[in-house]
Structures are given as C-alpha cells and as structure tokens.
Symmetry: C2
Subunit: 131 residues, 2 copies
DNA sequence: CTATGTGCAAAGTGTTTGCAAATTT
DNA sequence: AAATTTGCAAACACTTTGCACATAG
C-alpha cells in the first residue's frame, strides 16, 4: 500500500480536493496544486489520487471522459449533466441501498454504492426552457 | 443523428450485444462481430456503439478502464467486482429512484439512473473465503 | 444517384510507468 | 542511512477523426 508518507505534494492534493465540490479531474487538480507546489508533476498527482482512493479518503467517479475525484465520501447521489458535463451532488436520501442490495444478493459482497443520474443541471434545464 | 441506415455491420453489432449479458467493451464486441463481418473495423464498432447509445438502444457503463455496453436497457443495478473486474447484473428492485430524486430536486431534469455497486462477485467472494 | 456509412491509419486523450534524484522518517 | 516518493519523459490504452471508397435507400 503506497503513499504512507506525508509529503508536501500529498498534503496539497488533499487540501485542494477538500476545498471544492466541483468533482474535478486530475488535470484541474494538477493546475491548482501547482499554485502551491510549483514543481509537482502530473504523474505525482495521479499516483497520489490513486493512493487516496485506495485508502478510502477520496472517491473516484467514472462518468465518461476523465476520472473525477470527490473528497466528500459520505454516500450521496450525483447528477451528470449531459449538456455541459458538470457533475453535481443531488439531494437524495439513499434508502439503505447497500443493505437492501446485500440482503437480496447474499452470494456477493457489496462494499460501496454509486448512484448517478443523467440529465440536465439547473442551469442547463433553465436555458433549455428559455432558448 | 447518425446511423439511420441498417448496414450489415450495424445489425451484427446489435445482435452480438443482445446475445450476451457480460457487459463487453468495444474490443470484445469487435472480435465477435469480425466472425460474422470479417471486414469490419474497430472504428466502425465505436461509431456504431455511439449511435446505439444516443438512440437509447444500448447503455454505456463507465466503470473505469474501457467503456462497457449493455443491450439490456430496463433499469437495473450493476456490480463491479473489484477483484476480477467483471460487471454483473444485480437482483434489486430500484425503488422509484428516478421519481423520488426528481421530486426532491425540481430545478434539474433527470433522464436516467445508474446504480452501481462495488464489491466482490460470487466467485471472488467464494475464493476469498477459501484462500 | 446521392447521402450516409465504412475501412484504414493517423492523431487525440487520459493514464501509467521506469528510473535517477530528492525527501521523509 | 534506508526506504519511499518525486519529476520527467516515454510508453500505454482507449477512443476519435479525416478521407477516399463502398453501399443502402
């Protein structure tokens, strides 16, 4: 299990990720972290993100295109806007999905849920009405 | 909207996809379709899959790594096995997730749900107990 | 006949990796 | 000092695209 040491790079990646709710990808995180640690490389960003995901400190979202990362790990639903590509959090109580699914499928072992909706974010839904 | 014409290639891609429940990726579909239409190219497979997804005949699953495709479009949950990478269907009644989420988030427009669990498939869960 | 789809190969993204140098513990 | 992590650049895996030819309608 990699990334045991607390380096400046690692701290900066974690702080940048905690500072936003925009579900950024590695390239965006890299640009932000460079403002604090100019020498950092994109490779290090990827390695750090991998480690954080494996440790459960960060969630990886596969939504098509680049992987997005989310430091808010409490189970919640996402909306992927099919018009602008934005990913936002959705208000929705997840009704014990993991427990229910586990009970109905005893042969498998469920560790995590990802609930993702496709549709239009508030801005794009609004623009659709106007335009 | 592309792919209005029913070509041999398109028919073969659709048939191959309907014949499996393994949620294959483009490379696998390409190999299978080549058995029926040897001249087909990987580019055509990608273009055809894109079209089928846009038409709603096929669902694209983004699970990390290559995009996987599913011709079974009735809403259902998936399990991505973190040990072997397999993607299987899960027994689980989706309790009107789309309607509930839409009601709680009136400003956005929800078109589709993707419910994905991470964990161990039956085989890998079993092997874990033995090994 | 004409518009659309195909095959090919080259180019584009996003991500991973080997290695020597730097850093953490 | 020892072990881990970094930066760099090259390699990779997956997907998209331009174009001349083929084909469905």
């Amino acid at each position: 299990m990699p990334m045991r040491r607390m380096t400046r790079q690692r701290r900066a990646v974690m702080e940048v990720l905690k500072s936003t709710r925009s579900h950024p990808d590695a390239a965006w995180i890299y640009q932000e972290v460079k403002k604090r640690v100019p020498s950092i490389s994109l490779g290090t960003v990827y390695r750090t993100l991998d480690a954080l995901v494996k440790e459960g400190k960060v969630i990886a979202l596969h939504t098509g295109g680049a992987t997005r990362y989310d430091a808010f790990t409490h189970p919640h639903a996402h909306l992927v806007c099919t018009a602008c590509g934005r990913v936002e959090d959705l208000e929705l109580e997840l009704p014990h999905l993991l427990e229910k699914a586990q009970a109905q499928n005893p042969a498998v072992r469920l560790d995590a849920v990802r609930l993702t909706f496709e549709g239009l974010c508030a801005d794009c839904a609004q623009n659709r009405l106007e335009g």
